[in-house]
């Protein structure tokens, strides 16, 4: 079981679904959510400048692509930059409804993206990820 997981999605229902499925399948202890890329980045920034460095960081991010303010790709560009190098061990799983083959190809360019999965999140999907990360 993971300690902390970050779900980035603008759809509250999707976030609700994520939480429920993750809890049900005991995938992670703590679930943090962000409504878009910018919110997620500010979460990491707060974490960086927080005095209490012992604060644990998420081990996995579920990332949606299509979001207002800052989408998934823009988030990945920032997150991949040297500015966020201290978080470069965090793995990302793109969780999207897109069917555009170009998106799939694009995702392969980011080293932290370990998988590209189609919504909805399911228990079998989490089982599969659990195996993959071990």
């Amino acid at each position: 079981m993971l300690d902390q997981i970050l779900c980035i999605d603008d759809d509250p229902i999707t976030l609700m679904l994520c939480k429920k499925v993750i809890v049900k399948s005991s995938f992670s202890n703590e679930i943090i959510t962000a409504q878009n890329g910018e919110e997620a980045l500010s979460y990491f920034n707060t974490m960086r400048y927080a005095k209490n460095k012992s604060n644990e960081q998420p081990q996995l991010i579920f990332l949606d692509l299509n979001m207002p303010v800052m989408g998934g790709w823009e988030f990945l560009d920032y997150f991949n930059s040297p500015e966020f190098s201290e978080f470069n061990t965090i793995k990302v799983v793109v969780l999207s409804s897109t069917i555009d083959p170009e998106d799939l190809e694009k995702a392969k360019q980011y080293p932290m993206v370990i998988d590209f999965l189609s919504k909805p999140i399911t228990r079998s999907m989490l089982e599969y990820l659990k195996n993959k990360m071990e």
Binding site: L17, P120, R123
Partner: protein, 571 residues
């Protein structure tokens, strides 16, 4: 002859001597004085000798004159003889037909040419001028006779004319007839002699050249003939240009003759094309270029311009031919076409993007619904009505999900005009497909006959062929006949370079007479089944065609359906 003169002289002398001696003897009887006798005799003898000598002189002089006259006559005779011989030889050798017309008597004679050239036999040839005139082509005859008689009247020395002369086989030959008049001492024309030359070949060649010339004069394309050599690295100077060039460029012949007709005279002319042309000229190579050019009115037009080097029989460059065409309209259309293609490409791209976004936006809430329904599975529902409602909700959601997924597949196929293919074992494909349909196969236990002995490997996209077979098998199971056991036969065969896959079932079939055009269409349903979406065959056809194959259907209601899929086996 000389000896005869001498003979005459000697005879004269002998006779005179004889007379002198006889008269001397006779006189001797009457005259007794021997001195006197001797004196007279001596005088006679002297006289005879003297006259003899004078005689001889006169005669031999005469003789000499006669000899020289005779010689002259002989020479003249020889010359005439030779000249006659020459004439005969020439008349025989020349292809000309020679005629001789004694005008007063209207007697007309021909040499052998009338037989050799025009094919008449000796008997056929007439001996009056009428025969001659009759053989002249009716269209030429009046014109020719007017000219001939006016020549005879004016009595100039030479005459020539061209006309068509009839041959023995009724065809006509073009001839050149040249003649001259012989006049009597009063200047009256009494005789005319002419020579007819067969110029049919020249005339035909002339006509052929005239015909060929129409290409040059009538062509809508501009044609320019230039000198072989260029000066100062320019385009060679114009020798000749056709009317189309003048109407295209607006220039007169005098304005361009002997100059370099440079099509690169606009500031917008293509410099690269000019370089290309000049280097071709330098290397004596054929060249085709296109550029903007200016006409005389300084208006721009697009010209397609070729230069072709022409070599003579000694294989030396003799001149260049340049063919040019105004392609302004063509260029305009091309530009419009390009613009259209650009717009269409952009539209297509936008639409593609639109379809991806739409499908994304549809899929996002739908995935939430599926996810939520998945969660419901673990929660026990006591209320029976609620359970029914949730059940319906669940079914509809999954059907919607399937539809959206099929549509998504279609979008992806349509976006991928060419797909990667690989050699796949047909058996392996079927194993995969059957394992996916395991539940339905167990349920209905259809008889499935597979025959892949002929072809076992096929060059195809694995995911697509699996999807195709999955669809066809699902259809066969879905639309099986209730009254008989489902039987499916799948055979592969190789025909030429293609692999044919034949898929036959004994199901309820499709009424093709009514639905022939629609059978592979989008959202076409032929049976009122709750879970049919009208997408399967459309998807199958799309996938088959994306792989470069074809699909055909044969079906009879209540008998069954056969699908024939054809794929190219080689790339």
């Amino acid at each position: 002859m000389k000896s005869k003169t001498n003979q005459v002289i000697i005879i004269y002398i002998v006779i005179s001597m004889f007379v002198a001696i006889v008269s001397h003897k006779l006189l001797a009887q009457y005259i007794s004085d021997p001195n006197h006798q001797f004196y007279i005799f001596t005088k006679d003898i002297l006289f005879i000798f003297l006259t003899g000598i004078i005689f001889k002189l006169i005669l031999s002089k005469n003789d000499n004159r006669n000899i020289s006259i005779f010689k002259k006559l002989k020479n003249t005779n020889d010359e005439i003889k030779e000249s006659n011989e020459k004439y005969d030889i020439v008349a025989k050798a020349t292809s000309d037909t020679i005629w001789d017309w004694k005008i007063q008597e209207d007697s007309f004679s021909w040499n052998k040419g009338i037989e050799n050239v025009f094919g008449y036999t000796e008997n056929e040839v007439g001996n009056s001028s009428k025969w001659w005139f009759d053989k002249i082509h009716p269209e030429d005859s009046i014109k020719m006779s007017i000219r001939l008689y006016s020549f005879i009247e004016q009595k100039t020395e030479n005459w020539q004319d061209q006309y068509r002369f009839k041959c023995a086989n009724n065809s006509y030959k073009y001839v050149l007839d040249r003649g001259f008049l012989l006049k009597d001492e009063n200047g009256k024309a009494i005789r005319m002699i002419g020579a007819i030359q067969d110029i049919t070949k020249q005339k035909e060649e002339e006509q052929r050249l005239k015909l060929l010339e129409t290409v040059f004069t009538q062509s809508k394309d501009s044609i320019i003939i230039t000198e072989a050599n260029s000066f100062d690295g320019k385009i060679p100077n114009v020798i000749y240009a056709n009317p189309a060039f003048f109407s295209m460029s607006g220039y007169e012949f005098e304005e361009i003759s002997g100059r370099s007709a440079d099509p690169f005279n606009s500031p917008n002319s293509d410099r690269n094309e000019l370089e290309k042309l000049l280097s071709s000229i330098k290397n004596k190579q054929e060249c085709l270029i296109e550029t903007i050019s200016l006409n005389k009115k300084r208006e721009e037009y697009w010209v397609r311009f070729s230069m072709i080097p022409i070599y003579n029989s000694e294989n030396e460059l003799s001149h260049w031919i340049s063919i040019q065409r105004d392609i302004t309209d063509e260029k305009k259309q091309e530009k419009e076409k390009e613009q259209l293609i650009r717009e269409l490409t952009q539209n297509n791209k936008d639409l593609k993007q639109f379809s991806y976004i739409t499908s994304h936006n549809l899929r996002a809430p739908l995935s939430n619904l599926t996810g939520l329904l998945n969660l419901l599975e673990d929660i026990p529902v006591e209320n029976q009505e609620l359970k029914e409602i949730l059940n319906g909700f669940n079914k509809s959601t999954h059907l919607l999900n399937d539809t959206i997924n099929d549509l998504v597949k279609v979008i992806i196929i349509k976006d991928n005009p060419s797909i990667q293919k690989e050699a796949v074992l047909i058996k392996e494909i079927f194993e995969n497909v059957f394992s996916q349909l395991n539940f339905q196969i167990e349920l209905y236990k259809p008889i499935i006959k597979l025959n892949f002995e002929k072809v076992s490997i096929i060059n195809i996209n694995k995911a697509y062929i699996e999807s195709i077979l999955l669809n066809l098998l699902t259809n066969a199971i879905k639309y099986k006949s209730e009254s008989r056991k489902l039987k499916i036969t799948i055979t592969t065969r190789e025909i030429d370079n293609t692999v044919v896959l034949i898929f036959t079932d004994n199901g309820i079939g499709i009424d093709l007479e009514r639905n022939k055009d629609k059978v592979f269409g989008l959202y076409q349903r032929f049976h009122n089944y709750p879970d049919s979406k009208g997408l399967g065959l459309y998807l199958v056809k799309s996938q088959v065609e994306t792989m470069g194959g074809t699909i055909e259907i044969e079906s009879e209601v209540n008998k069954g359906t056969t699908f024939t899929l054809t794929f190219k086996n080689k790339q």
